[in-house]
């Protein structure tokens, strides 16, 4: 059962990472517009800027 000493911190760490990612996603307005991004993937790459600043 000593393996729990490893798996529990790992799972907690994973959960923490996901929470942080989620918070970041909310912060950067990713839940504001749920319609346009679905269409964005249809645009061919050359129309997109290289530095990806344009969202």
């Amino acid at each position: 059962m000593n393996i729990l000493l490893l798996t529990i911190p790992v799972s907690i760490g994973l959960a923490a990472i996901f929470v942080i990612l989620f918070v970041k996603a909310v912060k950067s307005d990713q839940f504001e517009d749920l319609e346009t991004p679905a269409l964005n993937i249809l645009i061919e790459d050359e129309a997109l800027p290289k530095n990806d600043k344009i969202v």
Binding site: M1, V23, F31, E35, L42, A47, L48, P49, K53
Partner: protein, 708 residues
């Protein structure tokens, strides 16, 4: 040096629908060095850029326009929108943290339930679940504690109170058991409760946002600047700076920012923002156009009659928002009931704990917790206000602007429908013009039109409309010289060297006009106020619905009885020669019989009667004073919205009753089960959100998809 960015600009773009449109705009600006951030939101039809120094909005607009899109600079977010957006984010954070904690807590619980509880790891795992529960308690459940505290401070216990007590009590007891290493631990079920209830609340929040976002004047105007004529020079003026008597030039698709009079000969407008009527309307010179109208003709000139703040549209929107904030009697009542309910649930659970105090405290606490969680006065606390607010929106779609929260409850109680005649049933815009001995020829009609187009009088407008009806739009009008308008007599002028006049006369209660050439009468016409064809049907259906239809008029006995007969109203229910006071007295006598009176009126002379009626509605062309005295307002000319509104009110009452009954049965059944120990706190935590959710869905669906 890094170039500095300026404030983001938001534009409204018409015509963006698909990936192709996105691509077009994108590729245009990919290599633009004056922009750093280009955000396109198809749902909101907005385009936001964060430009660098040197960005020229005009130039940017021009480029987007060249791609084939209509583009206009939009208003920045209002304070309210910013607040709602922030609240949405906070909600999402809370949900995310709670969900992550609960998920991991469930894993730990699963281990404990499936045998780990028997090993030496048991205690550590229990401490782990405590650690995982802390974010749920301190962050996820925080809003419940705040609202309970506030409700206690206001001495009006809310439905969050039993919940908060359950969560706090459960945590304290579980922690105590954890430290003592003896007894039940509830961290898993408690965090599940918080997660489920938070999710339900988020759903309600979203429903509110989608259906009930308060209107603001900026919703109608996507345009900030307008072209105003000053002498011969044109200048761009901000919407809020337009003054009365300013001459505003509007091009196609512009929205009129203020109430105005048309200066061009005629115009086609789309009034749907104000009336919901999507058919284009033709407006003749001198007629009034209300703020919010969209121009369909190529380009028109108007003269402002109000500023943006004093426009009728702004007035309407403000009253509605005020109405949305005020509380209906029903809501106040159900809030109070919810308080009593919450308090009695708390008392009942304390009683359960005390009963089991000496024998089996764990069992007692389990039952109390189940009761606290399962009991849900959702039908009272959430669904009733939601239903009423939805009704506001629905009534708007039906063409009825409701400004008083009590409107629906009052309308439900009405047994009499009393109509004012002049201005309500008949309108100043609709006249029947009947020519004698024959209709005018094209040449005569164009002369009459040319003369009358210089006058703003309603009768002049009626005659112009009549001429246009016969011969269509007059492309070229004859020149009028020596034009004269004689007040309450008529108009005259010289056309092609001949002296023409159109004179009004009022004989035996009938309005007549005479068209003369060189003082010889050529044609006469009688002008009757027109009663729309469908009114007879509406009156009939009102009677079918069990309402007693009556008519009050300041007109002569003969004219009133003529109208009553047309509408199928009994002779003794049509009262002629009314003064404002006698109208009010009549209404008051009616309502004395303790049956509700609905009064529909239009003007100053009706306001007294309106204030005495149980519920009053003012008609589309009505005056502002009438609107102030009434509880609702027709957004379309005519009375067509009345019946749907009545039917809708009946649906609303049915839905509210069904909700109450369902909630009563639910609470009685599962409350008893909880007290008897048949359901565990976890089952209760599932039942409660399911019940509130089904009530919310029931309300939203039955109110939105009720028969039209």
């Amino acid at each position: 040096m890094e170039p500095t960015t300026t404030k983001p600009h938001t534009f409204l773009v018409d015509g963006m629908h698909c990936a192709n449109c996105l691509r077009k705009i994108r590729s245009e600006f990919v290599s633009d060095s004056t922009l750093t951030d280009l955000r396109i939101d198809i749902g909101r039809r907005t385009l936001r850029v964060t430009p660098l120094e040197g960005f020229k909005p005009e130039f940017f607009k021009e480029r987007v326009h060249k791609l084939g899109f209509e583009i206009k600079e939009a208003q920045n977010d209002t304070e309210l929108e910013t607040r709602i957006r922030a609240e949405n984010k906070r909600f999402l954070y809370r949900l995310g943290v709670t969900a992550a904690s609960t998920g991991n807590l469930m894993l730990v619980s699963f281990a404990l339930y499936s045998g780990a509880a028997e090993t030496e790891w048991a205690h550590s795992l229990e401490w782990l679940s405590f650690a995982l529960f802390l974010p749920v308690l301190l962050y996820g459940a925080y809003p419940f504690f705040v609202s309970s505290y506030q409700s206690l401070k206001a001495k009006r216990p809310s439905i969050d109170l039993p919940l908060s007590i359950a969560i706090l009590g459960g945590s304290i007891l579980s922690t105590y058991h954890l430290v003592e290493q003896n007894g039940q631990i509830y961290f898993d079920s408690l965090s599940m409760i918080v997660l489920l209830i938070l999710s339900t609340r988020y759903l309600v929040f979203k429903v509110h946002q989608n259906y009930l976002a308060p209107m603001s004047i900026t919703d109608v105007f996507n345009q900030k600047q307008y072209v105003v004529l000053k002498g011969d020079s044109k200048s761009q003026v901000d919407r809020d700076n337009i003054q009365i008597d300013d001459r505003i030039l509007l091009s196609k698709n512009d929205t009129l920012p203020v109430d105005a009079r048309l200066v061009s000969t005629h115009a086609e407008i789309d009034n749907s923002a104000l009336t919901g009527e999507s058919l284009p309307q033709t407006i003749e010179r001198g007629e009034r156009i209300y703020a919010g109208a969209r121009v369909l003709s190529s380009s028109i000139e108007t003269k402002a009659l109000s500023t943006c703040k004093t426009s009728r549209l702004n007035f309407l929107i403000e009253s509605v928002n005020k109405g949305l904030q005020s509380r209906s009697k029903w809501v106040a009542l159900s809030d109070r009931a919810a308080s009593y309910f919450s308090v009695s649930i708390v008392i009942a659970s304390i009683a359960v704990i005390l009963t089991f105090w000496t024998q089996d405290l764990t069992e007692g606490f389990n039952r109390a917790l189940a009761l606290l969680v399962v009991a849900c006065p959702c039908a009272l606390g959430i669904v009733t206000p939601l239903a009423l607010s939805l009704s506001f929106r629905r009534a708007l779609n039906l063409g009825l602007l409701v400004k008083d929260h009590d409107f629906f409850e009052k309308l439900q109680s009405c047994h009499y429908a009393v109509f004012d005649k002049t201005g309500t049933l008949t309108s100043a815009q609709n006249f029947d013009v009947h020519w004698l001995p024959r209709p005018p020829s094209f040449v005569e009609a164009s002369v009459i039109f040319a003369l009358e187009s210089k006058s703003d009088h309603p009768i002049a407008t009626a005659i112009r409309r009549n001429c246009s009806k016969m011969y269509g739009v007059f492309e070229e009008l004859p020149e009028v010289e020596d034009f004269q308008e004689l007040p309450s007599v008529g108009v005259e002028g010289v056309v092609n060297g001949k002296n023409y006049s159109v004179r009004k006369s009022y004989i035996e209660g009938v309005q007549k006009i005479t068209f003369s050439e060189n003082t010889n009468p050529v044609l006469t016409a009688t002008i009757h106020a027109e009663i729309p064809d469908n009114y007879q049907n509406i009156c009939h259906q009102l009677r079918e619905a069990g309402l007693q239809v009556m008519l009050l008029s300041g007109d002569s006995q003969a004219e009133t009885q003529r109208t009553a007969k047309l509408l199928g109203i009994k002779e003794n229910f049509a009262i002629a020669e009314c003064t404002p006071e006698s109208k009010a007295e009549f209404i008051q006598d009616l309502s004395r019989s303790s049956k509700g009176v609905l009064f529909v009126g239009d003007g100053h002379n009706d306001t007294l009667a309106m204030s005495r009626a149980t519920v009053a509605i003012s008609v589309f062309a009505g005056m502002e004073t009438a609107f102030k005295a009434s509880q609702a307002y027709f957004l379309k000319p005519g009375l067509t919205s009345l019946l749907p509104a009545l039917n809708y009110t009946n649906t609303l009452v049915r839905v509210l009753k069904r909700n109450l009954a369902a909630s009563f049965i639910y609470n009685l059944t599962f409350g008893t089960f909880a007290l008897l120990g048949f359901i565990t706190p976890l089952v209760a935590a599932i039942l409660m959100p399911v019940s509130s959710l089904s009530l919310i869905l029931h309300t939203v669906f039955s109110l939105n998809w009720s028969k039209k």
